[in-house]
Structure formats: structure tokens, C-alpha cells
């Protein structure tokens, strides 16, 4: 794929800067927009191969969903007492992954962290696609999915409203709000770049396509002013969502009275876990993309260093949560809570708990060292571990808590079936199909923001005043 890049720069790793040496406005613009505007028929084979692979996974996903709808959710391994299994684990996992995007684009925007600029677009896209993957699960996990619209408060002729005390009902609003705001924020952020693409496109089809999408953006000062205002508002809206969405999802568990679910630390612990897992996913996606598309000078080692630090910090919060759970189980004096922890640590499924500890607590400790934070293979491995570890965390919380609750007579065992795996692995198909389309059709790095960064870097380097924005 690199060969298809006309402006393949020499690989010079930058450890302290957010931008590689020698990047100019035009080099940045060309580097990013050329990936998108490359002629259709000369689409790189790597992309096509990846797209087909993702498509096959998507077919698996659609097959498992079709079976689910026609046969029933009994095709999964769930039972009584373990009525939630892969469906909810994957739901929470995907939603968690989405968090990094929002955090990067909204929270870091408010905190004026410049390093976010080259990664926020892809991270946000990841958020939206992850939320799409996540959003499917609550819809399909019901016994009669064709009646899911009953979750919505619509004026029904039956006079029935949803039951607003249920955390699942809160989820409906939390997720739909989150998805809406994320899409809006992402799209608004895309508009100046879409206009750039419109202007640079030579073929009429992309011209029209990007022309329609860019909503008449001309780069006027008025436009920029409105743009800045809108993104600030949306950032302001998104910031509480970063906290609220996963807090509310944690309520699905914390509000229930099941030992292992009924834990007050869950909201912050879930949010930290989501950020943890989300950043890990960003790193997992960025490392290959950066390499394949030669974006070394836009996504520098500095970015990975900073992201690793965020990961380390959120990982420590999560670790605190793990130890907190153990402490509360003893301190609560409840035999059920105590049994639960003993069962997690030493029960028949202890291996899953210890996997979680190894993946989420022990391995990420290497991130204390800059040497490893900037070593991409190590970082990739650690990030993968965190993604797996966070999946195990949901497994431990959801499944292990359900297997052994109050009455020993109703204890059960959960064994995932083929369809459990198919609906999980298949959801990567949906994710990657969307992601491949994204990198082919939309600028995966925010062009205008990096150009802003070029400006600032230049400014810093030359200690010279240079006011004004870069035009489209």
C-alpha cells in the first residue's frame, strides 16, 4: 500500500514532537487527502483484501443474526441463572471501546491538548463504529426483538409507557444520545476537510459526493467562527456523556442486587475501564494504519507516549477497582459477597479472573517506562492484552456473578455456543467494514487541524507571530 502513496516520506521517528520534521501545509493536505482521492480502480490490494476479509466476517454476523431471529435466543449458551452472556459482555465491551474517541475529541479539545489533532478523527470514527456494534446487542439480546420499539416512550394506543426505573431504559437514552452527539460531532468536524477534498477532487463523482457532504463550506471567516462555536458546544455536550454513558451502563449491574453487580464503585470504575480499553483499541488500530499509510510524521511517537500515559492512569483506576471489590466483599460482612470473591479467585472459573488480572493489571505495568511506551511492538501487544483483559473483566462481572448467586440449588454453568462466538467475532466484520470504508472515503486525520498544528509548530520553532487560520 505504501507504494501507492505518491508522497511517501522517509521514516523519521519523532519522539518529542507531534509532527514530523519538514511537514508543511501542503504536504499535510496532500498526504491525507491523497489516500482518499486515489482513483477507485487503483485502490490498493491491501485495502481490498482487508475489506473482503471484513466482509466475510460481516456475513458470519448476518448469518448468526438471521438464525437468531428465526430460531430464538436459545441458540446462545445463556440459561437460567445465566441469562446474560456474550450478548451483554460484547455490548459493554464495544461501548467501552468507543469511549476513547469521545474523550480524545471532546475532553481533550476542552483541555486544549494539541496532541489529539492527528488521532481524533480516526478515534471518533472508531467510537461511532464501536457504538454501532455495541448498539446491536441490546436490540438482539431480547427474546422478541421485533418488539424492541417498546423500549421507546412513544404514544402507544395501549397507553403503555416504558418502565423508567429500569436501568435498561436508561441505557436506551444514554446510548442513543451518545450515538447522536458522537455522529454530529464527528460530522461537523469533517466539514472543512470534506470541502478540502471537494476542492482537490478531479473526478466529478467525488466532487459531487464531497460537495454535497461539505454543505457549502467555503472557509469564510464566518464559517470558521460558527464552526468553532459548534464544536465547542458539542465538546461541552460530549464531555458529560463520556462519564454518563458508561456510568449508566454500569447501573445495569450496580442497580441490581446480585453479588458482584451490586457495587457502588461501578460508575467511575466502568468509565475508567472504558477509557482504558478505548485507548488500547486506538493504539491497536493506529499502529498498522500509521505504517500502511506512511503517517509517521503525523502520528508520532509522542502520540503513542501520551496515549500510553492515559492508558496507564486509567488502568490504575481500574486496578484500584479490582482491589476495592475484594476489600468490600470482606468489609460488607455479606456471606454472598465474600463467597463471590472467593469464587472468582479460586472457583472453577478462576482462570478467567486471573487472566483479567494478568492482562489488565500486570502486563500494562510496563507502561511506566518510556522505553516501552515508544516501542510499537510492545505497545501493540500490551494494548491487545488490555482489550482482551477488559473483555474478561466483563465476563467476570456478568457471567461469574450469575453462575453462583444466593441459592446454591440454582447455580449454573455457562458454555458459549458457536452462535455466541459468531455474533461476537462477526461484529468485528461490521466494525472493520465501516472502518475500511472510512479510511477509503473520508480523511482519517483532520487535515485542517494538523495544518493548524503545522502553524503552531512553525510558530514555536521560529518564535514568530503569525496570526490567522489556514484557509481551505
Amino acid at each position: 500500500m505504501q507504494t501507492s502513496q505518491p508522497l511517501k516520506p522517509p521514516v523519521v521517528e519523532s519522539y518529542d514532537e507531534l509532527l514530523g520534521p519538514g511537514e508543511t501545509y501542503s504536504s499535510v493536505t496532500a498526504r491525507i487527502s491523497d489516500i482518499v482521492l486515489y482513483p477507485l480502480l487503483k485502490t490498493p490490494w491491501g485495502w481490498i483484501g482487508g475489506f473482503i476479509a471484513a466482509g466475510l466476517l460481516l456475513m458470519l454476523y448476518l448469518y448468526s443474526l438471521a438464525t437468531l431471529f428465526t430460531v430464538g435466543i436459545g441458540i446462545w449458551g445463556i440459561n437460567i441463572p445465566i441469562a446474560w452472556g456474550f450478548d451483554i459482555i460484547n455490548f459493554v465491551w464495544w461501548i467501552g471501546i468507543g469511549h476513547a474517541g469521545t474523550l480524545i475529541s471532546a475532553v481533550l479539545l476542552l483541555f486544549r491538548q494539541d496532541w489529539r489533532t492527528s488521532i481524533n478523527r480516526a478515534a471518533e470514527a472508531m467510537t461511532i463504529f464501536a457504538v454501532a456494534c455495541a448498539g446491536v446487542y441490546p436490540l438482539i439480546h431480547t427474546g422478541r426483538p421485533w418488539l424492541d420499539y417498546w423500549f421507546l416512550p412513544y404514544p402507544s394506543t395501549l397507553g403503555m409507557w416504558p418502565q423508567f426505573r429500569s436501568p435498561l431504559e436508561w441505557d436506551v437514552f444514554a446510548i442513543s444520545t451518545y450515538a447522536t452527539v458522537s455522529v454530529l460531532f464527528w460530522f461537523i468536524g469533517l466539514i472543512p476537510d470534506l470541502a478540502t477534498l471537494r476542492d482537490r477532487a478531479q473526478h466529478p463523482i467525488p466532487k459531487i459526493f464531497y460537495g454535497l457532504l461539505s454543505l457549502g463550506w467555503r472557509g469564510a471567516a464566518k464559517h470558521w467562527q460558527r464552526y468553532e462555536k459548534a464544536s465547542l458546544i458539542l465538546a461541552g455536550l460530549s464531555t458529560p456523556l463520556v462519564l454518563s454513558v458508561h456510568s449508566i451502563i454500569s447501573f445495569d449491574f450496580a442497580v441490581a442486587q446480585l453479588p458482584g453487580w451490586h457495587v457502588t464503585v461501578f460508575p467511575p470504575y466502568f468509565v475508567a475501564g472504558a477509557v482504558y480499553c478505548g485507548f488500547a483499541m486506538v493504539i491497536v488500530l493506529m499502529i498498522p494504519i500509521r505504517r500502511w499509510f506512511g503517517l509517521h510524521s503525523l502520528i508520532t511517537m509522542r502520540h503513542f507516549d501520551v496515549m500510553s500515559k492515559v492508558m496507564l492512569a486509567s488502568g490504575l483506576i481500574v486496578t484500584y477497582g479490582y482491589f476495592g471489590e475484594i476489600f468490600y466483599s470482606w468489609y460488607s460482612g455479606s456471606i454472598y459477597e465474600y463467597f463471590l470473591i472467593v469464587n472468582r479467585i479460586a472457583g472453577p472459573w478462576a482462570w478467567s479472573y486471573w487472566s483479567l488480572i494478568i492482562f489488565n493489571v500486570l502486563i500494562p505495568q510496563v507502561l511506566w517506562f518510556k522505553r516501552y511506551r515508544t516501542n510499537l511492538p510492545v505497545l501493540f501487544f500490551v494494548s491487545m492484552c488490555i482489550n482482551i483483559g477488559m473483555w474478561f473483566e466483563r465476563w467476570v462481572i456478568i457471567v461469574l456473578s450469575l453462575t453462583r448467586d444466593f441459592l446454591p440449588t440454582s447455580w449454573g454453568v455457562y458454555t458459549p455456543t458457536f452462535y455466541d462466538w459468531a455474533t461476537y467475532i462477526g461484529s468485528f466484520g461490521l466494525f472493520f467494514i465501516l472502518f475500511f470504508l472510512f479510511i477509503r472515503l473520508l480523511p482519517m486525520v483532520a487535515i485542517f487541524e494538523v495544518r493548524d498544528l503545522v502553524h503552531k509548530t512553525a510558530h514555536k520553532a521560529h518564535e514568530k507571530e503569525d496570526h490567522g487560520h489556514a484557509g481551505a
Binding site: F69, T70, G74, I78, H141, R144, W161, P162, S166, P408
Partner: protein, 979 residues
Amino acid sequence: MSKESLDTQGTSGRSYWRSLEELSQTAEFRARLDREFPREAAEMRDPVSRRSFLKLMGASMALSSLVGCQFALKQPQEKIVPYVRQPEQVIPGRPLYFATSMAVQGYGIGLLAESHEGRPTKVDGNPDHPASLGSSDAWIQASVLTMYDPDRSQQILNAGKPATWADATAAIASAAQAAADGLRIISEPTSSPSVVAAIAGLSGAKWYQYDALSNDNVANGATLAFDRAVNTIYAFDKASVVVALDSDFTHGSPTSIRYSRDFASTRRLENDSLSMSRLYVAEPSPSNTGTMADHRLPIKAGDIAPMAQAIAAALGVAGVTAPTLSESVAKWVNVAVADLKAAAGKSIVIAGESQPAAVHALVHAINASLTNVGKTVTYTEAVISGPTGVASLKALVDEINAGAVKMLVIADANIAYNAPADINVAEALKKVPTVVHLGLYNDETAALANWHINGAHYLESWGDVRAFDGTVSLQQPLIAPLYDGKTFLEVVAVLAGNATATAYELLTTYWKSVQGTKDYAFDKQWQISLHDGTVAQTTAATIELTAKVGGEIPASGTGLELIFRPDPSLRDGSAANNGWLQEVPKPITKLVWDNTAQISLTTAQKLGVKNEDILELTYQGRSVKAPAYIVAGQVDDTIVVHLGFGRTQAGKVGTNVGFNSYALRGTETMWFGNGVEVKNTGVNYTLASTQEHFNLEGRDEDIYHTTTIAKLIEEKAHGEKGHKKHEIFSLFPAYDYSKGYQWGMSIDLNACNGCNACVVACQAENNIPVVGKDQIWRGREMQWIRIDTYFAGDSTNPSIYQQPIACMQCENAPCEIVCPVAATVHDEEGINNMVYNRCVGTKYCSNNCPYKVRRFNFFQYVDEETPSLKLQRNPDVTVRVRGVMEKCNYCLQRINESRIDADRENREIKDGEVITACQQACPSQAIVFGNINDKSSRVAKLKELDTKFTVLDSLNTKPRTSYMTKLTNPNIELSGKME
């Protein structure tokens, strides 16, 4: 654990049935069904579960049953008109109840059958009948499903080809004439006076009775003791000390319903009484009765006889010398004897059916020496005459082999399946020129007969039957025979040359002749008898007898003992095609859809056997393969196998389920024998059970309270009221439940023996589907009430606790707040209602239910396609579709029925008026239901007692179902300490 190994429901493979199955899948058939039931057609279908249902319930028979059941399903070709005049008594939507009776091993149990617009949907005990007193058991509850079983034989067959009743009668009558003295009849034991008289009227014919679970030992024991046939009746309600020697008197026999109730009445602490009876049980493997014991002694079946001798000797029965017993057994016997002596005249010693006749004779002598006779033990004339056991079958086969039999009529007895292995019935039947089989199913025996006549179910029949105490009750049909089945009485009449008489005519003719009354007087008496369900003044009179010791006590053997037991659910296997019975979790083990070779932990370790290992059991040169299952409380060096499985031609549900342990049985070792050889094949088998974990995990205080009566008395004396529970405060005002009806339930753990009557009754009442072994293995059983079993103490002789658990109807129901669509909501009377139509199926409610009593339709479990099964359903209860959560709701439909009655009569619902299905079935009356706001109601009073507790009280769910502490009354001599 491959999926294949779970697939035990093979079809029976007859091409004739297969072709119908194919036919039933044709487009026209589907279109026809969908036209008739457009709602179901519109609902999303589920091919996979439907396929498993075809296996389970046999929808292949759908087509022919459509033809069979004419009144409710298939509209006649002629123009139909609605009722111009409503038939008398029939009010659409209101069930009618008719007294009838069912024969269990030949003895009658009086029943009330519930009929909805001509369809019997449920049976329950007849309160006026001595054998039921209004209760029933799982076997009886499930019998209604057998009637609607689509796999029932639906036509007369001659050499496998359909024939008419006219053909059959002509052929049978002429064959009978030709056979002359060579006519033999073999049937299941029957006490029916009309049948007995009819057979007696057949000159030259000889009648044999065979029941694989025959209590011949009991009859022979009585003959040894009294030199005559005698029927023994025990009055457990009058006994304060009971010693059961391998006798499971509260479960699985024609008397167990009555005995359960009588026994429970001596264990109940209502009205401030503080005394209860004491039960000693010596048995090889834990039985339901064993779980109730104050002292349970695991002992080999062969060691019971010396024990009985020791008891007799200790009581001074003449002519008995005490054998040497091991120290622990001797101590147990001494303590029991001391208690028996102290309770002379108020005690019972009872031996089980599987014990040899000599033990029964000894027990008669023991009861006599304890002056129990006439008080707790009474004797009457035998109710079923003649041998009914293996001796009888052997005599018949000997006759056949001698060439004396020209024609054999087999009524219901499935001798080709349930005969002991050393009697080759199949070979013998080949030697008989004409074999006529009458039965509900085209079963193993029918396949060997020249003529098969499809039988009528008892709910379709006219008949009569005598109860354990001799009381005659009538059987009246609740529905015209679905497939024109015939009764035994009719077939006997054909043998006598009367081919046209109906069962009704035959029955009334007989009773007219017996009662000798004129038509008018007879009709009046007849109506009364039908209405009451019992015929007045037919109870057998007590006779006074002196017992003597007789018979040879078999020496207790050595080596591994093989013990045969009727399956707790399927019994002899005749109901193997009944999904409710296959799927009801067996007491103690909670296994479903299989029988096992039960073994103790120590013996398993000694033999290197693990649970689910397939063992090859070889006994007397015959061998079978059986999965091992380790049972706590079973005595070492024994293997218990249950009968009733391994059917080869039971129907779609029961064929090839489990292994056939009749193949190990011998005429000399019908119940137990020594020297079985065990080989571990090392192959693994998958067993499905509804409960995996039997340990209380130290949660007794929250889940299961147990104490001793002595401790309770001491607490009372010291004025201790148990420890007061911590009041839990809430920021929110509690709902005011002080007005109106507030429904509540109390379950007496002291009375419950875990017999499963409630489980099947609930299934029948609430249209609960059968899901099959695979689904149970996946943890998806559907029964709304379950009986939790806990083992406490050491594994060799644990205390076994049984606890029925259904939805607790929590006042602070955790399920309700988490449902996003308000599909489970509380009503003002305290019931947690499940609104099936509203349920989307998030299953969140189940996750948040601490009792895990909610059940989910993971697939389309309910068979909406087999017409005959639709007829069985209770029209007052919604049939749930795929994707919907369900659970117990205190039989809301019954509450509403009473409410309507009460409203119409402008009164309150009376205490005891609403009876839930589980409560109604419970033989020991452990379940009490009612309005807890009415302080005078029985349930409210029970809830006031100190021994009441609620499960998981610490969660503050405030359950409406409470429990009465399990009490035991141990003898301090044996328990060693006052616990």
C-alpha cells in the same frame, strides 16, 4: 459431551409413522393449520425447536388426530349451528368437575376431573375418596397428558394392518370359541368388581395378573402370617413411632397419597402443639420417606431381614432368635425397639414391597406384639385377589410352553417389556395361535400380537375400581374416546360372545345384578355414586387375625448388591411416553430423562467410577450398560437401578430413553440380589439434572431453617422467641398492603417429602411446556415450582432437606424495577404478575431474582401444532410463546374464578376457597394458601408461628411465601447430643 450423546429421543422407526410425519409436513397441511390458527401462523416460527418438538411430542400424529378429535378441532362437513339450547350445566368459560377414578397398580384413587367445554384438562383428588382425600401425586397429575398423547394407538390393527372393531370382534369371538379351554387372559392387576365378575363368567378361561412392581411379597407375607390373603391398612395418623424397613410408604404406591397425609399430620406443629411422631427408616438408598426420617440408617436391602428378626426378637416375638448385627445397626435397632415399646399400640413397623415375604410375616408378628393391630394396623379381606407378581407370569409362560394356550388376551400388561429377563415372553407369544392385545399404546407387546385393539384411557372409560380399603369408586368418561378405544370390560364381553354391548351397559348391568335393585332405585343410587365418586358401603370390613411367624428368612449375602427400584417418576415404565413424567426432576438426584446406576461415593471410589461413566453391569449372565451416578446416603456395596426406562416402542417421547434394567431382573431376584459385576467402560455419558449443587454453603440461616423439637420446647420454656430480626428502614414509604385480599403462602418443610406432585400439578394447570433433555442440560427447565434438595452432614448418611421453591411474590420484588417495559408488575393484592403479552424478553428480571424462579422461553417450546395437545391446555392460562419470561403467579386464574363467584354472591372470598394447583395436589398438605390480611385464615396463623421463616430474609425482598422450619425429633440416644 457431544451433542449426539444427548440426543436420546430417537423415533421408533416404523415406516408407517414416518410417512405420516412426512405427510404432516406437506404444504397443504401447513396451509390448513395456518388457516385454522392464523395467529400462530403469523408469529415468527422457529424451525429448530419445532424439529425437537416433533421428536418430543410427536406432531407426526397431528394429521390423524385431526380426524380423531372431531368436536373441537375439525369442523364437520355439515352446516354447523350454534347452541340453540345450551346444554344443561355447560356454561362456556366455566369448568365442570366430575368424579371419576384412576387405577394405580389395580387400586383405585378417586379423582375429580376438570372439564372445559367437554375437554378434561386436569385431574385432582376427590376429597371424598379414602385413597386421595383430595390430593394426588405426580403420576395421577400426568395421566391427563397421556390421554392426549398423540402417540397413543389410534386404531385396531390386525397383523399390523388397520382393521375395524367389527372385524376384530368377529375374529376374537370365533377364536375364543375355538380356543375353548385354551383361552388365557393376562392383565395388569385389577380390583374392578365388574371385570372380575365378567372374567369369572368365562368358562374355560384362566386369568393371570402381572405387574412388574407387584406387591406379591406383601400378599405372600400376609399368607405366611395368617394363612390367608389379607389386605393390610396402616393408620399413620395414629402412630407416634414408625419404623420403616426399606419402605417408601409416602411415595409411589396406591396408598402413598393417603399415608403421606396421615403421616404429615403427626409432624405438624399447628395450634401450639409441641409433639410430633418419630420416624426411623432403614433403607439402602435415600427415598422420599427416608428424607423425612429422624433417624435414617443406610443398610443393604439384604440386611433388612436380619434387622427385622432382631427387632422381633427384642420385642419378644415367639420363635425368633436374634441374629448378630454390626454394632451400629444393633444400637440403632435397640433404640428403635425401646421407642416402639414405649409407644406400643401407637406405633407402626412397616416393610417395603421389595422385602421378601418372610420379612412381611415378621413385621405382622412385630405389630401384633406391639398391640398395634386394630389400632394403627388393621386387616381386611384382600382387595385384589390372586397373585399379581412374577409367579403368575411364570405360570402363564409355562402353560404356553406346555402348549395349553390357544388364545391369549393381553390387557395393558406390557409383558414383552417388563417381564424379568429370564422369562422369554416374545418366544412364548409366538407359540400362541391367537394373541389379542388391548392397550393405550402400540407398544412392545402389541407388536407381538395378532390383534391390537387400541384401548380407552380411564378418562374415556366407564368402569369401576376398588381402593386400598375396598371402597368402590366408579369411573365415568369425561370425553368420548378420542380414537374409539375399548375398555377391558368390553373386550371380556366380546370373549363371552357379546360383541355389541357398550362398557356403560356392561357396567350398569353388573351393578344392577349386584345391588339387586329395581331400575328406579338403581338409577337414583347410580347417580349418587357417580356424583360422589364412591359407592356407599363398599369399604372392606376389618377382620381380626392372629399373626404367626413363617417363611424362610433369606441369608444376607455378600458382594455387590444389585437393587431394583421403580423409577420415582416413571414407575414401571408404562408412562414412559409422558413428557411431564420424563422431565420432572427425580427426588434426591434431580435427574431428568434418564435412569442411572446409583452408587455410593465410597464404592464409586473403590471401583474407580466417576459420575456419568458408563458402567457395564453384569448380573446372572445378563448385562446392560448404565451411566453411573453417585448418591450421598446410599449404603456402600450396592448399585441401585431404576426400572421403567429403555423402552423400545413407547412413542416419540419415551423410546430409547435410558437403559432397560428389566434386562437384569430375574424371577428369583425381582428386587435385589448379590454379586453384580461392574465394569467401567470409561465412556462418558451426559446426564441432565436441574440442580448441580446440593450444599447449603453455610447459608442455612438465610435459606433453610432446621431444628429439633427438643430444642424448640426448650426455647419455649425459656421464653426465647428466636432472635429478633433487624428492622430495615427505607426512605420511601412502604405500599399499604393492609387493605383487601393479600395473598400469601406457607410451606411446611416438615410435611414435604419432595414427591413432585406439586411440580406436575403446576405443569398441568399452567400449560408449562416440556423442553427435553438437551434443554435441561443447558439449564433451561421450565417448571415453575421446583423442589430444591440439600445434603447436610457427611456423605455416607446425610440429612436430606427438600424445599419447594416457586415465585415468592416478594413485596419488594427485585424483578419489577429492572423490567424496562413494565412486563412484571405488582398488583394491589401482593401478587407479582407476569404480563406475557408485554414481555420483550430482556431476562433482566431473572438476573435480579435472588430465588431464580423465573423461566424463559428460549425457543418456541410450546407445541402449538399438535391438535390433541392443544386440547389439554387450561383455557384460563395464557400459552406463552418464544422469547417470553414466565413464572408462578399463585394460580391467579383460580383466585379470579373465586373472586367472580364471591362477587356474584356478594360476599368475601372465604378462607380455603382459593386453592392453588400445588396446594391441591400436595399429598401431605404442606402448602397452605390464603389471605394473610384475614387474621383468622389458616395461612395467616401459620405465619404467626415462631417456626416461620422466609428465604433470603436479609435481602428485604419481603416474600409472600414463607416456610415452616424443618423439625426433627431425634432420639437423644442416637443423636448423642441435643442439637
